[in-house]
Symmetry: C2
């Protein structure tokens, strides 16, 4: 299993993971328009954003997450890592891939000097909540969203 930052070659597979959580989407079927190209360049070209992927030995992307490293004045000026867009391919769940991806992302944040890792999860996703609790995360906050 290979853990690394995503390259442009991984974009179809990452978009396939994000397109449908419940079934496997063929990366070849994903339409990549200019908006997706721009967004991917914005992530990979920014020193405070990373798309991290877990790939098998054949290069197939089985999981992904985005990490954003946020500078701040709390925690005596330490960065915090925000994790978004966590996905494991539907046919490969329950085999510890999510845990491996997360543990590596947390270790990466620690090495960078982050004081905190944070994320939000929809209140309906109780299975995900057990997973985050098992990784040591405290469900201390409510997450608010306003669509624009």
């Amino acid at each position: 299993m290979i853990f690394r930052t995503a390259t442009r070659q991984d974009l179809p597979a990452v978009l396939a993971l994000l397109a449908d959580e419940e079934k496997v989407v063929d990366p070849a079927s994903v339409v990549i328009d200019e908006a997706y190209e721009r967004a991917f360049e914005a992530i990979t070209g920014d020193s405070r954003n990373e798309m991290l992927v877990l790939a098998d030995d054949d290069g197939a992307v089985l999981g992904c997450l985005q990490a954003t490293y946020i500078p701040g004045l709390g925690k005596h000026g330490a960065e915090r890592a925000l994790i978004e867009a966590v996905r494991v391919r539907a046919d490969r769940r329950g085999a510890g891939l999510g845990r491996e991806l997360f543990e590596r992302a947390v270790e990466r944040a620690r090495q960078r000097g982050c004081a905190l890792v944070q994320l939000t999860s929809n209140k309906r996703r109780t299975e995900a909540h057990r997973f985050y609790a098992s990784l040591g995360f405290a469900r201390s906050h409510d997450g608010f969203k306003l669509a624009l």
Copy 2:
């Protein structure tokens, strides 16, 4: 009331707001060490981070919040705005300053093209939750934190 991005001159007042939510801290009493200087430069020098302040006509900082604009592949490649470090000076609460600060920050995110504004609030802060609900935010998520 002036709404603007913070400058280095505002740093003592912003740190005073962050130091204690319950009482007014004299900005002149705040010790600004190298870690705070570095963190403030990281925020103000980054095109995806802003420290926004509300100041009175004499320049006194009465409220602050940090906005982080996060590129992503969800929402068809639109940015999302994350809001952190929201404070209104203890002796000026209940007069609508928080609402003004928030409405302006949301408008700024909208003008930038963000698809979403998000934040987390400690589960004990039920008064803050009513405030965010009154601004149209949905409390749809749980917020998880892992201290490193």
